[in-house]
Symmetry: C2
Subunit: 333 residues, 2 copies
């Protein structure tokens, strides 16, 4: 990318002409693989399985870089995780960039290197892409869309949005770190907080769960809207009730402290490396073990109070968890 003529991206790099080719060529080199190098309008994939998972996400996080991650890492992990939440092995990603005129090549290169690094980590290939450039103030630096294709390799796997009565709910680790990390980067709160985003690929952890249990009904990563919103949505689509126990929900001390200072409820703050797993009671301890030492059983699915999530507090009372009503913090992913 260092061979490109200018320090900053101009509209001409989005024209579809010679400069676009140069830009795309410099990006392509970062991901070089047989499929991408065919240079066709579409990538050709060879999939031996019939059950395919397909998903998309656009990323508009601000700022582009934050403690524990950046928009490139997020764009890979977010889509990899959406595939994993369907019980699929993620295989292929597309990568589409909308660039604001004036973005520096060095920033773009850092982001693309991050995409490349995290794609390798997740064992997914970038096989097709697109690049658009828009004028000043027509976008904010850089937006990324990734779509993903994976295979659900076993007929046994039946992940849906519907939990079963009696399912226990397991989370793989402490919540609310991503949203706070982005906030602190945006507002220069580094002096009161060292919280890093939990952003990571979840596919290998999910695979471990699926290997030890055939009784997993729902997998969900509580991103925008946080844990409370994810639980509400699942209660709603399952037409069942959910009970969660406040003291069982893992939250790091510094996260609790920062939430107290800022008046945020950690249950509504976005995560990018966490997921909840709804699993039949008999298999719950196996799955918890497979998820490692940070995993916790945080609640269960009940037939009483359908579509409602009750949080049993440490004080013994119960409050209803509603889905997030409006914006706490925009552009966290």
């Amino acid at each position: 990318m260092s061979k490109l003529k200018d320090n900053f991206i101009t509209l001409s790099y989005g024209s579809g002409g010679k400069l676009t080719s140069e830009l795309i060529e410099s990006l392509r080199k970062k991901f070089s693989n047989k499929i991408l190098d065919e240079l066709c309008d579409s990538a050709e994939l060879n999939l031996k399985e019939e059950r395919i998972a397909f998903t998309t996400d656009s990323f508009v996080v601000k700022p582009l870089f934050f403690p524990g991650g950046d928009i490139g890492k997020l764009a890979v992990c977010g889509t990899v995780n959406d595939l994993a939440m369907k019980g699929a092995v993620p295989l292929y990603l597309s990568l589409s960039l909308i660039i604001e005129e004036g973005l520096s090549f060095s920033v773009l290169e850092r982001v693309i290197d991050s995409v490349s690094f995290w794609a390798k980590k997740a064992k997914v290939k970038i096989v097709c892409g697109d690049t658009k450039v828009v004028g000043k103030r027509e976008a904010d630096e850089l937006f990324i869309n990734t779509a993903g294709v994976g295979v659900i390799f076993s007929q046994d796997i039946r992940i849906s949005s519907k939990a079963k009565p009696g399912d226990l709910i397991i989370i793989n680790g402490p919540i609310a770190e991503h949203g706070l990390a982005v906030l602190s980067a945006r507002q220069n709160l580094g002096f009161i907080s060292k919280i890093k985003s939990d952003c990571k690929n979840l596919n290998l952890q999910v695979q471990k769960c699926l290997e030890v249990s055939k009784k997993i009904s729902v997998l969900r990563d509580p991103t925008r809207g946080g844990l409370a919103t994810a639980l509400s949505e699942i209660a709603e689509s399952s037409d069942l009730g959910i009970e969660v126990y406040e003291e069982a929900i893992p939250i790091k001390k510094e996260v609790k402290k920062m939430c107290d200072i800022l008046g945020f409820d950690p249950l509504y703050i976005a995560n990018e490396g966490k997921f909840i797993c709804f699993v039949g009671k008999k298999d719950a301890y196996k799955v918890k073990k497979a998820l490692g030492k940070e995993a916790r059983i945080i609640g269960k699915v009940v037939s009483s109070h359908p579509k409602k999530v009750y949080l049993k507090t440490i004080l013994g009372s119960a409050r209803i968890l509603l889905p997030l009503e409006s914006e706490q913090l925009p552009r966290i992913c």
Copy 2:
């Protein structure tokens, strides 16, 4: 969508909370199908074929509505056409929106209705999606990303970016209408031009070609950068020369006239409903016939002057067609 509370989209609609659910719900109703209605993070597709085509495109056209189309139509046709250019039958699309705060629901609804209409026309299903809202001046009204999945149903189909010596080049109709239509909408040139965008789905026309010939080597839709850039890229990747005949290239009179007035070269202006087909000489007339009465044979592939495209002019001279150097007209797709 009329049930939504506000007239304009606010940041809260992108929070991942209740308003996001309402917005997504109102969008989902427009596309209702079994896969989408599962409400999972990923869509599950059942593909019986092993050879899959996968592609992505982001659309940032300005203005959102122009003669002959709109960003929604473009977002469907663009991705459907990219799949068709690999010889695939397009089946499934994702739909990801980046919305600028303040966009009116009525504009969004018009665009989404257009997406729905053109998806039905192309016989593709919208199976997954994403919605982000960014602040004022952090995007320009609305950007759309679509990714697409299709199947290459026959082992015989081998479309690549490499032409063969002796291939004839066929185009399915007259060029340069899309770019001019967008320009005239943007600059209010309606008074001098009634040119409409040629934006359309090409999958059925491509299928007809593939049914009559097994000798098609390259399919390409000359979008950004126009016909000249597409031909240059194919000459480059084939390591072969191309000769095209100026008088054979179909251009409507009013397009020629407007290009003359504005000083544009129609060979470099974007199309959204045209494609070029490189086919062995013996099958060329069959393919031309399958493409209908607007199709023309415009040139051939030669072994002399590799990587160069020569335009034989009406006056008998020849000039080299280079790829587009820099921007003629930004944000045409």
